[in-house]
Symmetry: C2
Subunit: 382 residues, 2 copies
């Protein structure tokens, strides 16, 4: 990628950007500006950059009208803006929305326009754009391989792979952090076979050095790593959450097929709900507070008992901004995991705002579950 | 904003980008590349662009060592890269991480460097950068006002405000879509007082024309709109979810103070859990299927009954990729809301992949709740 630009909804400026991009690159991908409203001007800009007029595409018009009829929707004049295309351009079907994409050429550069709505953008890129690129510059590739980790500070991790991260080395190795997850990216370009060999060797070396904090590769989320372990060795799960308010369950359920393992989740947000739904003794909450090791353990054991699941994870914490005390500052979260052989608990104090605390706490809970599943499968502590 | 660039971790390329940006803009904000690892080269790039050497900052070193000591963390050599700054630059405290920010100048342009970790970036921008910009170009402003809507197709919405969206009009009005939410952005720049007047008039006109589909302004999420209604007229809530797997609850809990209203949420992912936790009759599931109006209603009524909440919302659907049938395709979701006066139900078929279906379904459920609360408060149907 030689350039990434974010542009205003200004047709003349976008046309200039198209021409500049076509001068500097073999491939130009534009997302957004294909909708029905008047600020959607990518069609006009592309036509201007190509030096051709816009024309209605009869096939796209038919497709749009059939789509609307099937859903009982009425089309207004603005919808018909979406079936105008630069002369000579190819239309790309959009299976998940009303805006077709466009494939065209400016000089020697290939140009693809796809919608900006994130769900549509992703699907159009995968279904329409990438397949058309297969075979381009055949034999050459610029690839990235990503090793995902959780639970090791970035500075410690960086020192373990400092030699791989040295400036000028090939492949290039770099780290990126989000919600407590540290990704190690390995980049290289050149002949495809050689690049794949280089990336494979680096990824294996990174996994070896970082060991148990590695939970996956690519864009695999922690919950997918959990699902992979569950597929190999099925057990049933229950979740009891407080400050994360359903986030742990939502992450698990984002994996297709989770219904085979996850029996239920309870967001026991009030103390009353912790008592009534999960059987946490009131005296425990009174004595230790809702954010405490005994209450986290009782929540996990309660969730396991009432659901009949093999394993239950529970967490209770103070996401903020209010509710912190000197002994239990905002960001304090207690975690527990109950299984047939007993229960374990852990505590962590997360920095950052409410959303950051919740997001990291949810990942911490999933990682606790992941490590338990690895341990159960291998007998070794990850 | 005259340019937004995404750059590689290449110090020379970043230094060139700093100089180009300083030529074209009065203000340059760079995020990322301030971490402890060797691919973090923003410090080096900025020093090169400024034409000065890097020097250790004694105050930042002390701050880092105190931070590590308080948390019982050991510092390695790579941590000390984070206390190197271009000579003459100002360091900006980072309250949520180890990487301080940098304030500097290249020629006449002011330059701020802040971390790339999203939570740190947001907090540093708000706490360190924006306050330093107050008063710059005093009296002038480039402002955006955003009216947020849910539930009206973009083409219909666009036609209702087509005259406001006409090319060349001031303020500029544009729409953007995500997860079923359509934002109408109103932009203008010029003398601050005038701009604020223009945006206020347009926002009021847009709210008037779009009416009940408007749920908020700015970056307010649907759940914050719900919380605003609950503050004015408190009722207690319960949630019963299936395919969204905790997402509705997680969105609600993302609002500070939600514990005053939300009693609990149940992710009744298995049929067994729907029966046992929510009291949905097994015969109902057998006769109509888990994704059906009667089951959605029974889930809402069950959640309301067992939690003791005033209002319960429930949803049950097929998020995909598997599980669809010709009568109930992937994306089919049934929603129900139970209250003291009875229950209501709605069905929608969402397009897109699993995450898209879940995200839009969660927003649909929150919007159903929002509309109910508006109706209860005003006696009018929004």
């Amino acid at each position: 990628v030689v350039r990434h630009e974010s542009l205003d909804d200004d047709a003349a400026a976008i046309a200039r950007a198209f021409r500049r991009a076509a001068d500097d690159a073999d491939l130009v991908i534009a997302s957004g500006g294909l909708g029905p409203t008047l600020d959607d001007v990518t069609r006009e800009a592309l036509a201007e950059a190509m030096g051709v007029p816009l024309e209605e595409d009869a096939g796209a018009r038919q497709h749009l009208e059939a789509w609307a009829a099937a859903r009982g929707r009425k089309l207004g004049p603005s919808n018909y803006r979406q079936v105008q295309f630069p002369r000579g351009a190819e239309t790309l079907d959009n299976p998940v929305g009303t805006a077709p994409g466009i494939a065209a050429a400016i000089g020697r550069a290939r140009v693809f326009c796809i919608p900006g709505v994130p769900g549509e953008m992703r699907q159009m890129l995968a279904d329409q754009v990438l397949p058309r690129l297969a075979g381009a510059r055949s034999g050459q590739a610029a690839l990235v391989r990503t090793v995902r980790t959780f639970g090791m500070p970035e500075s410690v991790l960086g020192e373990k792979i400092a030699d791989l991260m040295a400036a000028g080395r090939r492949p290039r190795v770099a780290t990126a952090v989000r919600s407590g997850i540290i990704d190690v990216h390995v980049h290289a370009s050149g002949p495809r076979e050689e690049v794949m060999r280089l990336l494979e060797a680096d990824a294996a070396e990174i996994r070896r050095r970082l060991g148990p904090v590695v939970f996956g590769e690519g864009d695999e989320e922690m919950e997918a790593a959990v699902a992979r372990l569950l597929e190999r060795r099925p057990v049933t799960l229950a979740v009891a959450e407080s400050c994360t308010g359903g986030l742990v369950a939502a992450k698990l359920v984002s994996v297709p097929g989770m219904s085979a393992w996850l029996l239920e989740a309870v967001v026991a947000y009030s103390n009353e709900s912790k008592v009534r739904r999960l059987g946490v003794p009131e005296t425990l909450i009174a004595r230790h507070g809702a954010v405490s090791e005994p209450v986290a353990r009782a929540m996990a054991e309660g969730a396991r008992g009432t659901s009949g699941a093999d394993i239950a994870i529970a967490l209770t914490g103070i996401a903020g901004p209010a509710g912190g005390t000197p002994e239990k500052p905002v960001g304090t979260v207690w975690f527990a995991l109950a299984h047939a052989g007993g229960a374990e608990a852990a505590q962590y104090v997360f920095l950052g705002d409410r959303q950051h605390v919740r997001e990291r706490a949810a990942n911490f809970a999933l990682d606790m579950l992941r490590r338990h599943l690895v341990r159960a499968a291998t007998g070794r502590s990850p």
